[in-house]
Amino acid sequence: MIVDLSRANAPLRRVPSSAIYVVSAFWAAWLFYLAATGGLGVEPIEALEHRYGLLALQMLIAVLAITPLRQFTGLSLLRFRRALGVSAFGFVLAHFLVWAILDVGTWDAIAADIIKRPYVTLGMAGFILLIPLALTSNDYALRRLGAIRWRRLHQLGYLATLFAAVHFIWLVKGLQFEPLIYTAILLFLLSLRLRSRKSRAA
């Protein structure tokens, strides 16, 4: 353990995990309201699309950070992980819908973009990978699949998040740092996971 944050666990137990859903839904609605009323600047379509997309990426990374966080600090946020993951998917869905309906707007153009634009293709692939994860984020699916198969399925989260990070690098103009930072954090989290698996195997 690097820093001991386990003292926070007791008060956190009193926070219901549904708070994550409430805050996420409110946040998404608030951003939509801002975009519709000029609060996100003079080009709200792009602004809203990017805000939803960025929040989705940040939350996906947060989900993947929960296990290492417990290992290194003793802070246990495991009971929030499902709500955080499902909410992250909600933001991915919102990001997709703003892009498809408010931005691109026609079926032909949506299909053309998905096929012809590699960064869109990659974003779509990440989105599709997350669908089975969102659908199985409940106790019933966990029981039906069994813990091992369920866990294996949910390891797709790493791949989907990696797709999202590369999607971000790919869409900006020139050499910009922000998307590279998210990718670096993600690769760091992934390396921790692979290392702990190796030490367990040894």
Binding site: G41, V42, P44, L102, T106, A109, A112, G174, L175
Partner: protein, 301 residues
């Protein structure tokens, strides 16, 4: 040489801004209610040459020397000292030298030009510039025989431009035009917007405006003009030649490798306005198409 081109509309002819926004908002409300089924509804079909508001034009900018976010230039560009301002003129010119801005453009006719402005990122505005035909400035410095291109450079001041710390591009920002493009009556050097001095985030004190090309060609805060024999360095073209051609004429039929250029988002149109079609040469086909006669525009994009 001034007055070689007339606006098809003046600001007085245009729909008052408030009325224009109201009309859009009514359509937006309808589209919003119908939601996902509203695909294709609430789209502005007619191309209206209604200038964007001062606030829109000055709050949504690409000026990477001040940061890569659209709001960064307005936040950070205040630090740029624009007076005094000198421009170095060199290369194949009769009168090379370092000119004070007033000396270079003093006495030349400043006109109002309401132009469409189309960014390579597929957003657009309409901007009422005040500027001088570049041809007038080039004539003043004397273009020599053998000059084929005009190269421009943006001022590079790390103390005043926080974005220069990041290697987004090979600084300083540089752009170029073929001489006939530079001498074209539509090509201006803008010093104002809406009759006011051009704000720093829009390229003070003087910038190029080439309305039929993607916005990045219209280089800001110019500190050097060079007449050259060969095609000059152009920043985005060098950074990624596959994505940004030297010509970069607005062309709805030639897509950017990462996105379509067939349509554009009109800045200020709101969340529900959708996209409008992009026009060939950004609507200036009649004026400029002859410059590219016989050229394959998919090869010289």
């Amino acid at each position: 040489m001034a007055h070689r081109w007339k606006n098809d509309l003046s600001i007085a002819d245009a729909t008052p801004y408030a009325a224009y926004m109201n009309r859009r908002q009514i359509m937006a409300g309808a589209a919003g209610l119908i939601g996902a089924t509203a695909l294709g509804l609430g789209r502005a079909t007619a191309q209206e040459l209604v200038p964007n508001s001062w606030d829109e034009i000055t709050s949504y900018n690409n000026y990477y020397e001040f940061g890569t976010e659209k709001q960064d230039p307005r936040r950070n560009a205040g630090r740029l000292t624009t007076s005094p301002w000198t421009i170095e003129v060199d290369g194949l010119v009769d009168n090379p030298g370092t000119y004070d801005l007033a000396e270079l453009i003093g006495g030349l006719e400043v006109e109002e030009r309401i132009y469409r402005f189309r960014c390579v990122e597929a957003w657009s505005m309409v901007i009422p510039w005040n500027g001088i035909e570049l041809a007038d400035i080039l004539t003043r410095v004397g273009v020599q025989e053998g000059a084929n291109y005009v190269a421009f450079e943006t001022v590079m001041r790390p103390d005043e431009m926080p974005g220069l710390r990041y290697p987004v591009l090979d600084w300083p920002y540089r752009e170029g035009l073929r001489l006939d493009e530079a001498m074209h009556p539509l090509t201006i050097m803008a010093t104002g917007i809406y009759g006011r001095p051009i704000p720093n985030q829009n390229g003070a004190p003087i910038r190029l405006v080439v309305p039929w090309k993607y916005g990045f060609k219209s280089i800001k805060s110019i500190s050097r003009i060079t007449l050259t024999r060969d095609e000059p360095f152009a920043s985005w073209n060098r950074a990624n030649p596959r994505e940004y051609g030297f010509y970069s004429n607005v062309n709805p039929e030639v897509d950017h490798p990462r996105w379509s250029q067939a349509t554009e988002r009109r800045v200020g149109a709101g969340l529900f306005a959708g996209r409008q079609p992009t026009l060939m040469f950004n609507g200036y086909e009649a004026e400029v198409a002859s410059l590219y006669a016989g050229m394959d525009l998919t090869a010289y994009y």
